[in-house]
């Protein structure tokens, strides 16, 4: 195909027909929900997260009504506990984080000129998991069974089954399920940013939104897994009576606080940075110039991401840790103000240097920065330990965190809504209603939360359902309540504006005259994402590249056709975005939804102690996953290469580190290793808190070093055979490769047995003390991973025999080798820790 071929309108029309047919969404009442195109899944995801936000907002209104006057009896103390727990948990887990993922699923392919993200079915799976888990957790309040221990669920209140009911299990298991979907989305977004950029979009030309998403998704990988590790320990204690957090039996409630806040503090930046990313897109548009200080913004994003992992103990200043430890975290908490400030100054400088158009989205952006800065400054105050001791657990902290979250997440998202609504629906929202809503929200937020600084300093504690009049804070609370209703009114105006949208006229294309790729979207949008994948030469191609929009529309760039009737997009290199290969994308399917339902059943049925049913759910999940992999991944193409235009031919199959699947495995295993390190942290944490470790006595003397070393040797054998199988298979010695895989399976299975022998033969009793319990958890974690490794080895063996994995097409084998690398590392750490460390200690 030559450049001039695209001059032919008949050819273009034929190409468009083919693309349209390939990307046609499934129709019908039920079938439409099998869709996995990012523009649909992203919109469902966004709407669902928005509804959860409204629901959690109503919970807050009920709380504020209860607190309007002293000694009020609108709701009981018990209900109030459920209200604030669910409000916080839903806003964080069901709104702030999923909303960022949802918006990114919509925007990222558009921003990167890709037809879709690399794993569309994974996005759909993430969405269905989110919906199911969210309804489960949120719906619990209607059965008076909602969690009631605060959004951070501190033990021992929450681990003692006589003090807290089903709510704690619902929180733990329901939200663990959602954490899985968050990690899935993070994998999708990282691979999307690194591998699916259009040709020419080197790292220094990448839209800043993509930079932020990359950073935030990596943060999710390292922040969520410690919480998953904590959830595992927590449920082990609640369901099996293993005393990780029970001080009477050698546990320590502080371990939970550590694991929770290692997640919880980066979480704040996980929800804040994507909103700042929206500003980084809006501000150049409304200043009509390039953003100033591009590398400075990248510094801010990456720097904040790192520093945010050194802040978690500032939530634990009042727990009696040594002052020197507090001081380290206090120092990091002050340091994080530097990168945060830098990005705000970069935005102000850009506005200053440009010709500003005071549009509605920009009003939200600047207004929310003002609110955020107030929250940031009180943050610097509470980061100082002595001040925090005064303000801890008072309404001062409530004021601080709401200023940060409203200024740093909610209002920017509303701004983004006004900015991107034309992109999604082709219609603009009302400027008049938008501005009215903004001022209502702005006044409402300040009226609600500013007085809370004072009520906090006067001594009003958090999480109380009422207060005595003698405290002298009646008028402050009444002001907060009035402000809350004002804020709700502002939100209602926005909802009204959205509801009127279907009756409005279509806006022109690119209505804000923006310069970035996503605005190629046409008001009468097609489902194919982008007509042809462009060659990028600038950060703002629509502004800077000649006839850019026309060339994209006429298919004059890459991949303008779908000759083979397949959904495709281009995969490029990480640094310089050189085209590597054409990836064939997943099509609509029931499998993601069914897998989500099966996995959800495991978590939900476990909540109700229906273990056999949840085991059945686990088997079903495994079955669906295997079916999904077998039918939908590493498919051998009908030909080696295909032309993408301009004389470039790209392969249709790659394996190893060039392939998105390899990256997905690598990234998933990074998250897995992080969760594992949370458990290992637990082991060494117990070592520091116990004078005698491991403790002596019956049921605690184990696991010895013999069996752990045997298990380690078997893990090493499994790893070695897999690596050898990869190499022999590559050289075409298929028989030997299959034999090696068989040995690998045997080694993995024997490793499970040997691993369990250590604690079994020495009679370690996990209910007795935290030491045997943590040893058991490490062993179970490692042997379970050996089991998954054996399944992978078996799967690859069967693929090889079935002719779906060959010396040339060996993605499966290369991907499971990555797993085995991590598995070997896990085995080394586990067995060296439990087998050798007691001798050293």
């Amino acid at each position: 195909m030559s450049l001039h071929a695209q001059d032919d309108p008949a050819l273009r029309a034929a190409q468009e027909d083919r693309l349209r047919a390939v990307w046609a969404p499934p129709q019908g009442l039920f079938l439409r929900w099998t869709d996995c195109n990012n523009n649909r899944v992203g919109v469902w995801y966004t709407l669902t997260a928005f509804c959860f936000m409204l629901f959690a907002g109503v919970l807050a209104l009920i709380m504020r009504t209860q607190l309007a006057v002293p000694e009020n009896d609108l709701v009981s103390a018990n209900t109030f506990n459920q209200l604030f727990t669910l409000h916080g948990s839903m806003m964080m887990f069901l709104f702030a984080v999923p909303m960022f993922e949802a918006v990114s699923i919509i925007l990222l392919p558009q921003l990167l000129g890709a037809r879709d993200l690399p794993f569309p079915r994974l996005s759909a799976f993430g969405y269905w998991s989110f919906l199911l888990g969210g309804v489960f957790v949120g719906g619990s309040i209607f059965f008076n069974a909602a969690p009631d221990g605060g959004w951070f669920m501190y033990p021992p209140l929450t681990t003692r089954t006589d003090l807290s009911g089903l709510g704690a299990d619902i929180w733990m298991l329901g939200l663990s399920f959602i954490e899985v979907s968050s990690v899935a989305a993070a994998v999708e977004l990282i691979v999307g940013v690194l591998k699916c950029r259009p040709p020419g979009m080197r790292l220094n030309l990448m839209p800043l939104y993509a930079w932020y998403i990359l950073v935030v998704a990596v943060m999710i990988l390292f922040a969520f897994p410690p919480l998953i590790a904590g959830d595992v320990l927590f449920e082990m204690e609640r369901l099996l009576n293993w005393p990780f957090f029970d001080a009477a039996r050698g546990g320590d409630p502080l371990l939970w606080q550590h694991l929770f806040w290692i997640f919880g503090h980066p979480e704040v930046y996980i929800v804040f940075l994507p909103s700042i990313a929206l500003f980084a897109m809006m501000i150049p548009t409304f200043a009509q110039r390039h953003l100033l200080g591009y590398p400075w913004i990248v510094l801010a994003a990456v720097g904040t991401a790192f520093l945010s992992f050194g802040l978690w103990v500032h939530h634990m200043f009042a727990t009696g840790l040594p002052k020197i430890s507090l001081a380290f975290f206090s120092a990091a908490s002050e340091a994080v103000a530097i990168p945060t400030g830098i990005q705000i100054f970069a935005f102000i400088a850009t506005l200053w240097a440009g010709k500003v158009k005071w549009s509605t989205p920009l009003l939200y952006a600047t207004g929310s920065l003002a609110i955020f800065v107030i929250g940031g400054l009180t943050g610097v105050m509470v980061a100082i330990a002595p001040f925090d001791w005064q303000a801890h657990d008072t309404y001062f902290v409530v004021a601080h965190l709401h200023y940060v979250l409203i200024g740093g997440t909610l209002l920017p998202l509303f701004g983004g809504l006004y900015y991107y609504w034309p992109l999604i629906t082709g219609k603009k929202l009302s400027d008049r209603l938008g501005r009215t809503a903004f001022w209502t929200l702005f006044v409402g937020a300040n009226l609600t939360f500013f007085p809370m600084h004072f009520s906090g300093l006067y001594g009003m504690p958090r999480r109380v359902f009422t207060y005595p009049s003698e405290l002298g804070i009646d008028y402050l609370n009444l002001a907060s309540t009035i402000g809350a209703y004002l804020f709700a009114a502002g939100t209602a105006i926005i909802c009204f504006d959205l509801a009127r949208s279907p009756w409005r006229q279509k806006a022109p294309r690119n209505p804000w005259n923006a310069g970035t790729l996503e605005w190629l979207a046409h008001p009468d949008d097609e489902d194919w994402g982008i007509r042809s994948v462009p060659l990028i030469e600038s950060r703002y191609p629509i502004w800077d590249q000649k006839d850019f929009v026309k060339k994209v529309d006429e298919g004059r760039f890459f991949l303008p056709d779908a000759e083979e009737g397949r959904r495709e997009t281009i995969v490029t290199t990480v640094l310089d975005a050189r085209p590597l290969y054409v990836v064939r994308l997943g099509t609509p399917s029931w499998v993601p939804m069914l897998t989500a339902i099966a996995l959800g059943s495991v978590f939900i049925l476990t909540t109700y102690h229906l273990y056999w049913w949840s085991l059945a759910g686990a088997v079903a999940t495994l079955g669906f996953v295997l079916y999904w992999l077998w039918t939908g991944t590493a498919e051998i193409p009908e030909k080696d290469c295909k032309p993408i235009g301009h004389g470039i031919e790209l392969p249709l199959y790659v394996s190893g580190s060039s392939a998105p699947g390899w990256w997905a495995m690598f990234i998933t295993m990074m998250a897995d290793a992080t969760a594992f390190s949370g458990l290992v942290f637990g082991y060494y944490f117990f070592w520091t808190v116990h004078p005698e470790f491991p403790p002596s006595g019956p049921g605690m003397d184990g696991p010895g070093s013999f069996w752990p070393m045997v298990a380690l040797a078997l893990a090493a054998l499994s790893w070695g055979t897999t690596v050898a199988a990869r190499e022999t298979n590559r050289r075409g010695i298929v028989g030997t490769a299959r034999l090696l895989l068989v040995i690998g399976i045997a080694a993995s299975l024997a490793g499970i047995w040997a691993g369990l022998q250590g604690p079994l033969t020495t009679g370690l009793d996990p209910e007795l003390h935290s030491y045997p319990a943590i040893v058991w958890v490490l062993v179970i974690w490692t042997t379970a991973h050996a089991g998954v490794g054996a399944i992978m080895q078996g799967y690859t063996l069967v693929r090889s025999i079935a002719g779906r994995m060959t010396p040339r097409y060996d993605a499966d084998l290369r991907n499971i080798t990555v797993y085995q690398h991590f598995m070997a590392l896990t085995a080394i750490v586990t067995y060296a820790t439990i087998g050798l460390f007691p001798g050293v200690a």
């Binding site: 790292l203 220094n204 990248v298 510094l299 040594p322 340091a335 530097i338 950060r539």
Partner: protein, 126 residues
């Protein structure tokens, strides 16, 4: 010698991994600080009068960050295309990543100093 060293430095590869070297050193130093304090206070039985190990660890971290920063600084000044260095060329991409590394090195350097400061003032485990 300088020319040779300079030439060698600017030939080093610049990637996303080199970008995160300075903050990773900060993170390692931070973890080291936390573990050092926790183990001294919980296991060794008190705050060392002369925290030599800690001083050495901190100086190593500062040197590593400064080294990464200096290399990146030299790389960020490799002559190539015209200002403002925002084009899609090899040299502009390298300059961008190198300059971002310089900035991260500066932040990480300050971060390590912040973290280490309390050890100068606090003298016990209370």
């Amino acid at each position: 010698m300088k020319r040779g060293l300079h030439g060698m430095v600017t030939r080093l590869k610049v990637t996303l991994w080199t970008l995160i070297v300075p903050p990773t050193v900060w993170a390692a130093h931070f973890l080291f600080s936390y573990l050092w304090a926790a183990i001294h206070c919980a296991k060794v039985g008190g705050f060392p009068r002369l925290p030599i190990l800690y001083a050495v660890g901190t100086i190593v971290a500062l040197l590593l960050i400064a080294g990464a920063g200096i290399i990146a600084h030299l790389q960020s000044r490799v002559p190539g295309d015209t200002p403002p260095h925002e084009e899609g060329t090899d040299s502009d991409r390298m300059r961008f990543l190198a300059f971002s590394t310089v900035l991260l090195a500066a932040l990480s350097f300050v971060g390590v100093l912040f973290t280490a400061a309390p050890v100068l003032f606090l003298t016990d485990c209370r």
